[in-house]
Symmetry: C2
DNA sequence: AGACGCTGTTGCAGACTGCGCAACAGGCAT
DNA sequence: ATGCCTGTTGCGCAGTCTGCAACAGCGTCT
């Protein structure tokens, strides 16, 4: 049962359905049955049946003409509901808007999910040159301003787990050396904001800062991003201060007390959980400490940085 | 195999996984295993394994404290990609923005999907009283301005199928009589826009108009919506004209020739499909004509109103 | 023109998977 | 401390899903 690396207590068909959906994101947006079967190394008929089931649920649509499939709008519906849960968005939105007006650049709110940063809200610049970084987009942690702001405050165990894997290179400026990155994260903690200069996408720069909640845990990051030609090193330092203040403002509204004398550095042991760790979290930690690095990712994502869950509010912003 | 109404060639586990996800939308946003099992009439262990698999894929998250589950951010990621496919959004956005500024109200772009209208883009009013109608939200076709604009131009077969089912009542003003609705749809076709006054949500009114593509098929609708106290009958008529013109503008940019002498009314037989109906569409039609009304919904959604598929662009826009 | 390659979908029978059971472990209230 | 609730996990049988092969529609090449 555990023969092919699939975690125990997992349902094969559903795993495959998930793989199908994810492939639409990684590969082309429109795929045929045979092509999917080839990439997933599954039988044509299996994929056909998977897609047929997913289509009934609205998760994929079939183009009647080409008979090929693409992602369906049911995903947007559920995504809207998923984002509703983050009351953080409602709290952050005014600051995000203010910051966008003040700087004239695009501002974004991101959280950590599965060892990646995910944008959950955004206010566009008046005249965006190019609209990158849409809501739902995932960014690597080690080479984006949003990611590094989050990475810098990860529990040390989680950080070690992340750095144990090779760091992917995207541009000439991507830092792929773990030790160099550790050095930079220290700087980010000291400075209060992170700078990302074309480390992920060419011609795109950004600054980001972490948002903390009432328990002093980092729950999100906000970033200001724009085309590099508008963002000189001087300007970036300016924006860094602005984003740091805006993040502090959001943190305060989340009940964070800025007198963080107890927040010594990283890797605080108890993590501030009130009563009992909860076995799920304990298990997640156990898994994280296993040799398998992918498990580490899955485990750590249940750690510390989970945003509060709350009532309804606006979504898919402005 | 067909014992429990499940369409042939469908995978049970995946169907169940889909049902789990949809239940998060229909019921509370955070649910426990036992509660889900009760609602879906499945075994606790089955649901636990389903959720465990979905969590590995990022489609749900488990709150470590309460051990309950909620929708995950992977949905937002895939939703972003799903929306990218609608190049219609890029074409419509300037008009949407212009219309929002001109009217001072929220403007929305919607398409038909599975016998419902789905919002795929939106520009908010400067100071929205209440942010309803987020992107991804689904609206009924028979009692919303967006829905009626789309319904009015459905092929007659599809319309008959839709009206064969009882029309749900949401407010005192909801029209639930099929004949009355038919009458109104005629008026909408003649007038060029639809009016929705608190037929779905109290204190909310809107006007909408259909967008056509180069083949003269209706592919979307745009609406202007706001609180009823700002939208008197007079104002609604004004806005109706504005939304009609804006829709015509988008249609033109999609290559629609306004001299629609060939667009006699509804129910054009050939539907303008170029060569061969394509068996998938034919099958969808056959299913639609079956007694099962749910199948009708699934079938018709593959009909006529599919938007063009295209390259990347901004999404979840500001 | 005709045939071939390609696509995606669909019965069928066997085999593996996933279900249901029961037991386990933790949390909360009584 | 006891009971009831939660969610997760071995185990064996039954049922579901897979893989095969055949079918049908399109496009293209010879």
């Amino acid at each position: 049962m555990d023969i092919h690396g699939q975690r125990s207590g997992s349902i094969q068909s559903v795993e495959r359905a998930v793989a199908v959906l994810k492939l639409f994101g990684e590969a082309e947006p429109e795929l045929g049955v045979s092509e999917l079967a080839r990439r997933l190394k599954l039988h044509k008929s299996t994929v056909s049946r998977l897609l047929s089931t997913l289509e009934a649920g609205g998760f994929v649509q079939q183009d009647p003409r080409s008979a090929r499939y693409r992602l369906g709008l049911q995903l947007a519906t559920l995504a809207g509901l998923a984002l509703t849960q983050y009351e953080l968005r409602d709290v952050a939105r005014p600051s995000l808007q203010e910051l966008a007006i003040e700087t004239g650049e695009t501002t974004t709110l991101s959280v950590i999910d599965g060892m990646e940063a995910v944008n959950i809200d955004q206010v566009l610049a008046p005249h965006p040159v190019k609209h990158l970084g849409w809501i739902g987009r995932r960014l690597p942690l080690h080479c984006t301003a949003a990611g590094k702001s989050l990475l810098a405050h990860l529990p040390s165990g989680a950080l070690d787990g992340y750095l144990a894997r090779p760091l992917a290179r995207y541009t000439a400026r991507t830092v792929t050396n773990p030790e160099l990155l550790r050095r930079e994260l220290e700087g980010i903690r000291a400075r209060g904001f992170a700078i990302g200069q074309e480390e992920y996408e060419a011609d795109l720069s950004a600054v980001g800062s972490a948002v903390r909640d009432h328990r002093d845990g980092v729950v999100a990051s906000i970033t200001v991003s724009g085309p590099s030609f508008r963002l000189s090193p001087d300007r970036l330092r300016q924006l860094g201060e602005a984003v740091r203040l805006a993040a502090a403002g959001i943190s305060a509204r989340l009940g964070h007390r800025p007198a963080g004398a107890l927040a010594l550095a990283d890797g605080r042991p108890g993590d501030g959980l009130p009563r009992g760790v909860g076995r799920a979290l304990a298990q997640a930690r156990d898994r994280a400490l296993e040799s398998d690095a992918a498990a580490a990712g899955a485990g750590q994502k249940s750690d510390g940085c989970r945003p509060p869950v709350g009532v309804a509010g606006p979504m898919f912003g402005s």
